[in-house]
Structures are given as C-alpha cells and as structure tokens.
Amino acid sequence: MSDPAVRVAAAEAGAATVVRLAGLSHRYGDILAADDLVLDIPAGCMVGLIGPDGVGKSTWLGLIAGARRIQRGSVEVLGGDMADARHRARVCPRIAYMPQGLGKNLYPTLSVFENIDFFGRLFGQSEAERRRRIDELLAATGMAAFADRPANKLSGGMKQKLGLCCALIHDPDLLILDEPTTGVDPLSRRQFWQLIARIRASRTGMSVLIATAYMEEAEGFDWLVAVDAGRVLATGTPGELRARGGTHTLEEAFIALLPEERRRDHHRLEIPPIETGEVVIEARGLQMRFGDFVAVDDVNLEVRRGEIFGFLGSNGCGKSTTMKMLTGLLEPSAGEALLLGRKLEARNVDTRRRVGYMSQSFSLYGELTVRQNLDLHARLFHLPAPEAAARITDLARRFDLDPVMDVQPDALPLGIRQRLQLAVAVLHRPDVLILDEPTSGVDPVARDGFWELIVDLSRGDGVTIFITTHFMNEAQRCDRISLMHAGRILASDTPAAIAATRGTDSLEEAFVAYLEEASGSADQPAPAAPAVPAGVGDGAAPSAPREDAARHAERLARFSLARLLSFSAREATELRRDPVRLTLALLGSLVLMLVMGYGITMDVEDLHYAVLDHDRSLASDSYTLRIAGSRYFLEQPPLASHADLDARMRAGKLAMAIEIPPGFGRDLARGKAPQVAVWLDGSMPLRAELARAYVGGVHAQTLADVIAESGAGPLRALASVEPRYRYNPELLSLVAMVPKVIPLLLVFIPAMLTALGVVREKELGSILNVYTTPVTKLEFLVGKQLPYIALSMFNFALMFVLAVALFQVPFKGSLPALATGALLYVTATTGLGLLASTLTASQVAALAGTSIGTLLPAIQFSGLMDPVSSLEGGGYWIGAIYPTTHFLTIASGTFSKALGFAELGSAFMPLALAIPVLTFLSALLLKKQAK
C-alpha cells in the first residue's frame, strides 16, 4: 500500500512534526476523550489512529482539524496554535478534513460535480482550475461516469470517494480521514486505498492522518498510534507494535496492548458446528421492483433454524432489501417468503415480534439516553417490567454499555451506537435476527464480543440470523454466505466452498474476483499515470511553493465575495432542486393574498341584531325600521323578553339588541324624551365599538328626519364636523387591506425560507464545512441569504402585479420607493429567519421560534389593526423597531397616498438599520467551531 521509498522518506523526516499535542484534555460530561495527552505526529507520512470506539479518536481529529474548540492544553498544527483564530484561518486551506459517517458533510441534492465544485469555490479556485481539478479527481477515483448523479443516490463507497474528492480539491498538506472506509465494501475499499497511495506518490509532502477500525488497513500505514481511554497506548510502525505484542497480526497485537481489565473478557471466538434443524425461512423467486428499477431479482433460498446466513456484496446490490423481504418487513413484488411454512405478511404485527432488526444507519432516538432507548423498546415489545430490567442490565454488561447508560447516543461514537442498536434488536429475544452491517465502525474487541453473542443466540437459542458485513473474517464465520451483485445472487454456499470454487486462497479474493467478473471489468479504469492535482508540493522543490501556499492562505483568510457567492449558488441550486418549496413560496403567497385580501375586512357589515319592543306602537315600528334599513345590520327574529335577550346574546347569536321602552310612542309625542337601550356584545370590542358608532349615526339621522317631517323646520346643529376620509374615500377594506397584506406575507414567507438555513446544517452535519474551510461567518450567512432575497423580490413583484391587476387597488405613489423599501424589507426579514436559525439547536425550535417571532409582532404590533402610536408598553416598543411597521408605512404610503422617497424617508432609515443589526447578531451567535 505504501511503498518503501515513502517510508524511508518519512523516517528521515522524523524530526519534522505536523501535529503537536501537549497537555490536551477534552471532556464530555463524565467521559474523557483526551486525557492530558502528549503526542507528536511526524510529517509526510501516513499515520493511523487505532483503538476501540469511544476512546477519543474522532475528538482528537476534530481538534486537530480546528472543527472543535480546545478545552484545555495546546494543539499545534502546521507550526501554529489552533486556539488562535487567525492561525486557524491561515492554515485551514492547507488542511482537509473528512468527518466520520457516510457523506456527512456532503450536500445530498447536489450532484457529484456540484459538490466538488462547491468546495473548489470555497478555496477560491477559478472556474478553469476547478474544471481541470474535478476532471482529474473524478478520473482518478473512477467516478467520471457519475458526475451528474446526486450525492444522495450514491452508494456508501462512492459517497466516501466523493468525500475524498471534496477534501483533495485544494491540495492539502494535511489530510485527515475519520474512518473513511467504514461501511464500504471490500472492492471499493481496495480502490480507495489505491487512490490514496497514488495521490501520496505524487504529493510526497502530504501528511495523512487516519482513524480506522480495520486492522488490515492499519497494517499498511507508516506509523500508528494505539489509543485507549483518551490516552496513547503505544506508538510505532505496525511491525514495532506487532513485535511488542508478540503476535502475528495487528488485531491480536492491539488486544495484547490493552490493559489487563479490558482484555479479561476477550478470548478467541469458537463457533460450534451447526446441527441441522428444520427449514425456518424459505424464499421462492423473490423479486422487488421500485418503479422500473429491479432492486432484487429471483432470489431462492432455504435457511434452517439457528443458521447464520451472511450476505456479501457491494453497496446497493440489494442485500438489505432481500433481508427485509425474507422477514416479512417488505412485501415482495413477486415470489413469496415463508416462515415455518407460512407466508409472511408485511402488515402482521406478530411477525414483527418474532423478528429483530438492526438497520444500517443509526435509527434510534438521539435525544433519549441509552437507557431510555432500551427501556422504550422493552415497553414497546411488552416485556414484563422485572424481566425487562434484568434483560437491560444483562445486555448493558454484555455490550459494555454500562458507562454510557445515561448519555445520549448523539454524543457517542459510531461504534457504541452500533452496539446499542444491536442490543435493542435482540432485546425481545426474536426468532429471526436481521443485522444490516452491524459491525461497521466497531472496534475489533467489541466485534468479537458481538460475534460471541451472535453465536450464542444462534447455537444456544436457535435464532436464525441474517447478517451483512464487509469484514471478510466475519463472513468466514457465517455458516453460509450469498454473494450478491445488482440484485442477483452470484453464489451461495459455505465460505470455504466459495473460495474453493474460485480457486483462491482467501474469501476476499474470491469475492473481488466474482464482483469484477460480474461488473464486466477486470480492473477499475484507473489511468496508468496517476492523475492527481498538480499543485504545491510536487516533491522537487517543496520550499518555494510552500511560501506560495502561505501567501495563498493569507489571501484566503480575508473576506471574499466569490466565496460568499459560492454559498449563494449552492443554496440556489438546492432551492431549484426542491420545486415544492418554490411552489409553496410563490403560489402559496398568491393564494394567501387572495384569501386574506378578500377575507380581512374592517367594514363591519351584516351584524346580527334583534329588537325587544315593549311598546309595539307605530312610532316604535318606524324607529326600528330605520335600523333594519341600514346595510350594517341584519335583523333577526324579534326578542320576546329579557330572558330571551340574555340567552341569545350568550349563545353569540346576536351582536346587538335594541330595547324600546313601554310607552315610547306616548312619551315621544309628549316630548318626554324616552330612552332607547342598545345592548352590545362586548366580547368582541372592535365589533361593539363599530356597532355603537353605526347605530348612533342611524339614530341621529332618524331624529333629524322626524323633526324635519314634523314641520318644525330643519334642526340646526350648533356646529358640525365634516369628516374627509383621505386616501380611501369610500372606506373600502380591500384598498386599505391589500397594501397591508403584502408586507405581512413578505415577513412570514422569507423568514420561514431562511429559518432552517443554519440549524438544518447543524442537525444534518454539513455545518462542518463552515468549521473547516476558510469561509467566514459573514460570507456564510450573507451567502445563504442572497438567493432568498432574490426569491422574495420576485414574490413581491408577483404580489404587486396581482394587487394592481386583479384587486384593482390603485397605485398612486412612487414605484422605485416601494421597490427599494421591499428590497430593504425582505433583506431584514430573511435576516430575521437566519437569526432564529442561529439561535436554536433543532429545526422544530427554529420553526416555532420563527412563527412566534413573526406572526405575533407583525399581526399585533406593527400597525396592521391598530396604529403603532396607539399601542402601549412592550408592544409599542416592539412595533416601533419591527421592520413590518416601517414597510407598512411605505406600502400604504406609496399605494394609497401617492408618496415617494422624500415623504417616506423616515420609514427607510429603521429598515436600513435593521439589516446590519440582524446580520451582526446572527454572526455573533454563530460559532465557527463545535464544542
């Protein structure tokens, strides 16, 4: 894997160190991931971190990459202190970091090309340069044919290769790979390491730092660090470590190096021969189609009780699908699966009770502790409480979960999470166990522990076990294995028989031979001359380009518009790939505008009222008729009594009741000024106020008419008030409302569009790219914001046209003023969403926060219903600074009042001011390192 020349070079360069850790301590709760660590890592060679899960390997790598904040001690990388933000900014272009987990830092909807291209842009490469580098990388990794495939449609191995391409795009001097081949099939794994070797051959100066669980792989590294419990157990070449352990293989050597108490439980795994039992599962011509795609075709199998049956094959060959069909979790498209002679049904709950299942990706609750997860599953399988408690204690001991019982799995390394998943799968003592890559990323000791348990279940309890694995020594342990490729079974027999058929020494070689034959190519189309990005450190003159690189790094550390735009371009591409979101944003706002434009009305009309007439005279009739004639009121059947009035008011059937006193007509004639009582339903104050005003108006008019008719001559008021309704003379709701609906929609939708921008990356993992690339917080935030500002402006244009064309709301003022206001406003509102996103830790919280943070102030405090000047207390102050207030002024000013920049100047200032304030706050809250 690594040629002798390189090793010699590494040995000579022994004095040079690339990473120097001193007194480094890092703690998560009670767990020490680094315990007063002192370690110098030599430059220019391939260094492996080996050790069990959860001992701190990933944390060390994160600290070295600058993705985590240092708690105590010092981390020196490439000649500087990583606690110093300036140094981090300077060296991060020289470091490449590929985190644990298949494609965790990739963008799933972006294609292979776009993913790499994005990383290239972050490092300030020109388009021609990116093009050349991407072509070379894709050719070198054999991915050229898949350049246009979205990352989420790639197999695990291809995702890892893509991750590597993204890491290598900028010629790093230090390449950090955290379990790069976990969950990758042997063929892809072999290709992956060949690729790394080729790259190193042409870039001799590069240091590679790898954490791995595969001891066979570590065997090929130059220098190893054996890690346990946050400390260094031993360092040296693989040969030295083997010699120290006095063993033949590194795996055995590692176990020998472990402290006594950790080794105690470990012994060589013995698998007793299987006794032939009855056929438990039988498959006849199983086929699974997803649309046109045939995932699994014509699978025929018989599996006996207690048998351990392994599936091998490259990623995405149909192994998982086959297993799911065999246990009735998935209904086959054709053929049938029988459990003990009875057809399996996917919907049957009893079937599920007999099956234990462990999926490939972690699918337990990250927010519950380990104990709570186990407990939940015990309850869902209805284990009696005492038995459940005993079972959980037993499993915790067997799977070595005791120290982490009260920790949330989110904070645990992959290996321990896998153990937890297996514990959950066997909790209810199933008859059939399906294990989909259960040992990916699990350390050798724990893997043997797994197998002890699996063997025990199989031989002891007669549990039939289906398992997929990429470890050949595990495949060797199966009673029978099936090699799968592209949905078909290539061979199915005992491991020894399969190796014998191909005439190979090992199962791995047989496997690779089968796969190569099936995929029709003897070898990967790798170019003879390694096509590796030619850049710095071509070996010949390492010092001059190094200075160049330093200058390049200095340049990268500064604010860059190009990098900002690369975030915008990526966000825009993702948005384009999500037509549902686009449609909701554009069409949704138009529909809402229609509904709300027609629906919100201040013209209080058709108020239900009834009359309680104690007089029943001609005079009372003519008086009440006047009210019935008003368009504001809708008369209901008359009231019989006070009790009736009370009941109907209480039921909400009446907004108003009019009570005419007894002797109304008589008193009127005698000039005794009878009193007419008006009862209003005060539960809706706005409606009551308006009703009072309307009925007062009708009353006054009635009196004037009555007096005029009586011939006493027109009643002359002492003085009159003549209201002039400005801007909206007919008091039309629509004219008043539509200019108000636009500002409302332009706060809710833009804020919601950006609300998940940051928190989603935090939740799904791609935020790491912000931690480890030269991008600044401002570039990240503003870059993300730009596409949404553009989309919102388009939205604004649509709504404006709808308002003027469909609603025929007259537009009287200055369009440039309105458009400028809208631009400032949507910039502020998208900024508001980003702020909510940086404040929260989960997407749910960000959604709720944005909803409450926009709906409440915009509807209640921004002058939609009541002018801000009429508000009091906190509401007034929120209203005074909230952007919606000011854009409402601009919108109604330009729409209804024929105003322009000059008159509305005072509304633009607070809007313009809100933008930097919001961006500054977001930048302040956004962290450029993980804890």
Binding site: Y365, R581, R650, P674, A688, L718, V721, V844, I852, L855
Partner: protein, 378 residues
Amino acid sequence: MANGSTLLRNTWNLGLKEFRSLSRDMALMFLIVFMFSASIYADARAKPESLNRASIAVVDEDRSQLSTRIVAALQPPQFIPPEHVGLADMDRGMDAGLHTFVLDIPPDFERDVLAGRSPALQLNVDATRQSQAQTGTGYIQNIIDDEVRAFVQRVRTPAPQPVELVPRAMFNPNLNASWFAAINAIINNVTMLGILLTGAALIREREHGTIEHLLVMPVTPFEIMMSKVWSMGVVVLLASSFSLQVMVKGVLGIAVAGSALLFGAGTLLYLFAAASIGIYMGTIARSMPQFGLMSILVLLPLQILSGGVTPRESMPETIQYLMSLAPTTHYVSLAQAILFRNAGPDLVWPAFLMVAAIGVAFFYLALHRLRRTIGTMQ
C-alpha cells in the same frame, strides 16, 4: 390487529418518549413558556381600549376660548395630546403616517357658533387606518358636540333631544380590548403549537430514520399518531391552562366569567384536531423546510380568518364557508362563548361537535396518508 390494552400501552409509552425529546430541547421549551407568558402579557397590555392613543393634530385658526376647550378635551387615553400644526403642514404629518386625524378649526369659529351660524369643522381622517378611522371619527364628533353644547349653554339653552339612545355593552362593559387580545393570543398560540409540534415531530423522525425503526416494531401507525397527539396535546393544554389561570386571571387581572374546565375540554378537543392537521401536513411535506412554509400558509388564514381578529359575519360568504371547515373557527366561537359570555355546555355543544368531527376527519386522512407513505418508504 392489536387489542385495546396493547394499543393503550404502546400509545402511552411512545407518548412518554415525546415528552423526553421535548424536555431536551431547551430552546423549544423556552419558546413554549414565552408564548404563554410574556407574549400573552405584551399582547394584552399593548391595547387596553379599542380607541386608544389615537394620534391627532389640530390646526387652530380660531384661537378662541371655544377652540382651546375643544383641543383640551381631546385627551388620553383615547387620544395622544394633540399637536398643533400649521395649515401648510397638515398633509405632511398625515402622509408620513404620524397623524390619523387632523382637525381644522376655521377662523371665527366661536363667533359663528354663538351667532347660530352653525359653522363646520373639517376633520381629515387617514382612512387606510380603518379601525381607528371609524370609531375615532365618532368619538371626535361627540366630544366636539359636548364641548360646543356646554359652551353655548352658558349663553342660551339649546333644544333637548327628542329620543335618547343609551348604549350598554354586555359581558365587557368598558369594551376593554385587552380581554379580547389576551384570549385571542392564547387561541393563536394553541393553534400554532398544536400544528407545529406534532407535524415537525413526525418529519424529524423521518429525517433521522427513527420512523423506519418504529415500523419494524410491533407498533401500528395509529399508535404512532395517537402518541404524538396526546403528548403534544397535554403539553399545550397545560401551557394554555397555566396561561389562562396565572397570566390572564392573575397577572393581567382580567375577570374571566366562564368555566375554565369547559374551556379546557374544548381546548383538548381542538388540540386533537390541530395535531391531526399537523400530522397530515407532516405526511405531505418531504422535509422540514417544506413543512415550515406549509405551516405558515396554513397558520396565517387560520389565525386571521377564523373570527379571532375581525368578525366572521362581515367576511365574504365564500370565505365564511371555507373557514367553517377549519376547526379554529369553531374553537374561537366556543372559546369566546365560554370565556366572555359564560355560556354553558347547552349552548356550545354544536361547536364542540364540529371541532370533533373536523378533528376525526383530519385524523383519518392523516392516518391514511401515513400508512401509504410508510408503505413506499422501505
């Protein structure tokens, strides 16, 4: 099909899990507390009266005793003390949105009144501010009437009114808007959380792959849904009851007439409907960002058009009909009836029935979709 006790136990246990998840999310917990405390307070305190602190400017061209009396009568809390502006500046303040009203008292106004010439005052109203425009105009007319009458009475006796109109407001004698605002804010928050929490919880399970895991367990989609409905229902019910008892009755000192128990029952029923809508949306949206947008598109009409902001009877009939299919409309109506008008079960049962029926319909739709999406997920 699982029997009843299994169903209850699974639903109970899955629901407990939801509580645990929620309690880990500090930001979300804070938001829930905030929404039902500080936010309610701010909302209620912001507008204690319906016509409150209306901004008015006066152009006093008369500068007489009478005009001074009129200006002095335009006082808080209904009005912000009037600002005197010149005739030339009348429009500017209004254009900038500083004044809702500008009253112009013409020269020789007092003299003309006393001479019985019935002079006219001009009142400019910013009609884009509809709520204040109409009520405010009425107030101003009355105030001027009273002042002029009182002023003139010292000189001669004016003719009495032939009929007197005596308006009285029931249930809320002072037409105090803070009652209305506080209850309305609680209703809005119940709607928002009821929909968001459950829907987002479902999407979160999908994005994290945990729902796939649940499906290999002896758990049915019905149980998964019910567990989310009851757990989130309890959270929001507790928060809203706290808000009603402590914030509204205690801190804000609003005398709520009706039965808190009956309101609680209505809220629980409504939460069932809201949560079902949330889950239904969660089965339609493919990702959290889609769900977020969708929720805004649903929440906005629910809040604004359900009768909580403006009276329903004044909306166009199509909208009234459409909104009668939303549970919020019926919930607003039952909440107002119970809390303001002290209505009993005999009066509000139709609203309860409607909320329940709509809830069941959405629950069924959501269950149907959940079963289908699960079928295609594997």
